[in-house]
């Protein structure tokens, strides 16, 4: 009985292993490399180099830092928020993932960012596949995909900056759900952004030994 149940569970209990992620990333990178161009592809290349998966100049922590104008924009975004929280009653504010990442990179001791990160973590863990589908401003499926990708990047980086494994744990899950949408999503920029999110995940996993 035990062997039979383990066989059944092994069949359905699927998740992405590190080698699955690596294989997927390199395969998609090869496809996009020939047709895409621009800063995000370069960023992906250097990220893959950092992971030791391609030969190229690798990205440094300094390359990942934000400019002063990015920081000012994020502070303005925070000050203009109508609510105290980026998510309330399952409804999220557009730009939360990206702006929280900028603010956390700027000052990793900000209590407000810490509270918002916890709220988003709880939201994603409790709503799972249905998380981040309702926004205060109406946005389309492509934009929702971009928002969820930005949140995944924020979680991976937050995990790394704060040594908090709970965030990489949720990033693993979020990226697995996003992978289902990736097949349907149009536009190379969005695809590259997701690949970058996966690379961020692997980078953090490597540092945190997860």
């Amino acid at each position: 009985m035990k062997n039979f149940s383990n066989f059944l569970l092994g069949f359905v209990d699927r998740h992405l292993t590190p080698s699955d992620v690596r294989e997927f990333l390199l395969k998609e990178y090869e496809v996009l490399r020939d047709s895409a161009a621009g800063g995000e592809l370069a960023a992906l290349t250097s990220f893959l180099a950092r992971l030791g998966w391609v030969e190229s100049e690798s990205v440094t922590e300094e390359d990942l830092s934000y400019s002063e104008s990015d920081i000012n924009d994020a502070i303005n975004w925070m000050e203009r928020l109508e609510s105290d929280n980026v998510i309330k009653g399952g409804v999220a504010v557009v730009g939360a993932g990206m702006n929280l990442d900028i603010l956390d990179a700027f000052d990793s001791d900000m209590e407000w960012v810490r509270v918002q990160a916890q709220r988003l973590l709880q939201h994603v863990e409790s709503r799972r596949l249905k998380s981040l589908t309702n926004f205060k401003t109406e946005i389309n499926a492509q934009q929702i995909f971009a928002e969820r990708t930005a949140l995944s990047v924020f979680f991976s980086r937050y995990a790394r900056r704060h040594g908090d494994l709970r965030f990489i744990n949720t990033a693993f899950k979020l990226n697995e759900w996003l992978l289902v949408d990736y097949r349907r999503i149009q536009g190379q920029d969005l695809k590259i952004r997701f690949l970058l999110a996966l690379a961020e995940q692997e980078n953090s996993a490597k540092e945190l030994q997860a």
Binding site: M1, S5, V12, H15, L121, R128, K130, L165, I168, Q209
Partner: protein
């Protein structure tokens, strides 16, 4: 005499059966009712599947299909061995309730209106929660002394899911350690006042399931101690500070693998 009701996750729950069996033998304690959650609730299955994914299938296999047999291949102490030592004669709560003439109700959800009516009719001093999901304020407010829960981690540090594994993943086996916490339930997740923490003696733990099995045995004793403490008025709830702990969620297999490595490392280093 203290009137106690037991809330059980399923009719064959060994944990619930052991607690009920022993409570029945305690002087000054009246096991006044047993509330059992029915496995057949589509909404709940859907929501648990959303939360736990395919882990839910493992839970179903273990609890419903394999039943007590799931303990048979475990080394060390576990609930089945405790049941053997105590010579527990009942395979289900239904049998136990019938034998001792204890009111028993099966509900689709512990928070259901029928549970509320059942509990109001019994008017327990204390409820003992042995599993079955989150408890809502309509039920929390009925037992005058509260609802006891035993959590498989050290509170306030480790709240929520998979906390045995999280303790290892975060390398806190030395300072926080594995253990269980008896507490009163409130509307949060493992945030209610603490009654007692019991740490597992550092041991030759080879797997998380072995640790959990050992904790489950302690949890039965802790529950009984909690009821005795309320009966004898020797136990004092200690409120938790929300900032003293973190909430943990279902662990992804990759983090679990890292946690297993940490456990093995600990084992190797003694």
């Amino acid at each position: 005499m203290i009137r106690v009701v037991v809330l059980a996750p399923i009719d064959n729950s060994l944990y619930a059966r052991l607690v009920c069996f022993r409570l029945r033998q305690e002087s000054g304690v009246q096991l006044a009712g047993i509330l059992v959650r029915s496995p057949w609730n589509l909404n709940r299955i859907r929501s648990e599947f959303t939360r736990d994914g395919t882990r839910l299938l493992r839970k179903v296999m273990d609890k419903w299909v394999r039943g007590d047999q799931r303990f048979s291949d475990q080394a060390g102490d576990n609930l089945m061995r405790l049941a053997e030592r105590w010579e527990l004669p009942f395979k289900t709560l239904k049998q136990l309730a019938a034998e001792y003439n204890i009111p028993r109700l099966v509900v689709s959800d512990h928070n259901h209106r029928r549970s509320e009516e059942f509990l109001n009719r019994i008017a327990p001093d204390l409820a003992v929660f042995t599993g079955g999901g989150l408890i809502r304020p309509n039920i929390l407010s009925i037992p005058s002394l509260g609802i006891l829960n035993c959590h498989t981690g050290i509170l306030p540090q480790y709240r929520g899911m998979d906390v045995v594994e999280w303790t290892a993943a975060e390398g806190r086996m030395g300072d926080v350690g594995f253990g269980a916490t008896l507490h009163l339930m409130d509307k949060g997740v493992d945030t209610g006042p603490i009654l007692k923490n019991v740490g597992l003696e550092p041991g030759n733990w080879k797997s998380f399931s072995q640790i959990r099995a050992a904790l489950e045995v302690s949890m039965v004793e802790m529950m009984l101690d909690g009821v005795r403490g309320f009966r004898d008025k020797t136990i004092t709830p200690r409120p938790q500070n929300p900032n003293d702990g973190r909430q943990y969620y279902v662990m992804h297999p990759r983090v679990r693998a890292a946690a297993e490595l940490q456990l093995l490392r600990q084992l190797k280093n003694g």
